[in-house]
Symmetry: C2
Subunit: 189 residues, 2 copies
């Protein structure tokens, strides 16, 4: 059994669809640290959750990184959505020449073992394996009614994520790609 | 002896001037957690630093809170300065009717004792005393060459913090006020 440490039911459903493991939701309020690096934040959380339960756990952290804004809002995407809101993130990007941005998702997995075969491992006690997914797109004026968060201002291949059906968006999305990388490793292990 | 956990020499000089205790700089990279609340961030850091050295420690965290932006950039002021820059924080505030903002500084103190006489104590093991200083002003277009960080866009009583001499700014500043509250408590203890 794999415990997904999250308060978000939707993320658990996505993980169940993507992974062959038996995924259960684990509501544990792990410490989110401040870092420019999503992998560091997720690894810290996974290690703490593993120390709490002593069984395999995964943590996911994600963010929107706008190139012309030096990666802002990045790891603080949820805070910025709550305070500034996504319209202001569009207005900040609008006057810039470069509207390129990426959604990034990092999955951190910890089961107390050395995880030697994982492609990226963060040392520590115990070590944590990291899997990344990213999708590159363009920041645009808000369009579409679907999705959540920054989806209305993130355009991929001519449409915003808020203009896509959930299944379609999941096929392209950063989190889907991180889950796929994690699943691929799980199968070869 | 009181260890001030910071990498900033200027903050240590301010603390020495304000406190009667023997203040030494302690360069320890404590975990900064994500929180909307500066007191929670500072308390977590002070507790961790105390557990590391077992002697009295203080941690300071500060931020700029813009009313019309729901407190943004708040606890992530340093990250936002590095990525967006202060000009963009002015441009975000400019179209708003309300330009009110506050600089806030929180000092967290931990010495392993119960700290029962302190005005604000965060429970935990061990407890941490919290002292706050704040200064209210207005966000304006950048002016002045002095200070650092957001000083050029923060106007207090007709001038920006960047237009004041250091001594004058320190007399009004959030950090000076937090240090004063901490010093007052130390004298009555």
């Amino acid at each position: 059994m794999l415990r997904f440490v999250t308060g978000n039911d939707g993320k658990v459903r996505e993980a169940r669809a993507a992974l062959s493991a038996d995924v259960t939701q684990f509501s544990y309020d792990y410490t989110e640290i401040q870092s420019h690096d999503l992998g560091t934040i997720a690894a810290h959380g996974a290690r703490e959750a593993y120390q709490e339960v002593g069984e395999p756990v995964m943590v996911e952290d994600s963010g929107l990184f706008v190139d012309a804004l030096d990666g802002f809002p990045g790891p603080y995407s949820a805070y910025v959505e709550d305070t500034l809101g996504i319209d202001r993130v569009w207005h900040l990007t609008e006057p810039e020449e470069d509207h390129a941005a990426a959604f990034r998702s990092l999955i951190a997995y910890c089961d107390g073992s050395a995880l030697e075969t994982a492609p990226t491992v963060r040392d520590g006690d115990p070590p944590v394996a990291i899997f990344e997914g990213r999708v590159e797109g363009t920041i645009v004026a808000p369009r579409g009614e679907g999705g959540f968060g920054y989806d209305p201002i993130f355009e991929y291949d001519g449409r915003t994520f808020a203009e896509m059906e959930p299944d379609e968006k999941n096929a392209y999305s950063h989190r889907g790609r991180a889950l796929e990388a994690f699943a691929d490793w799980g199968e070869t292990r």
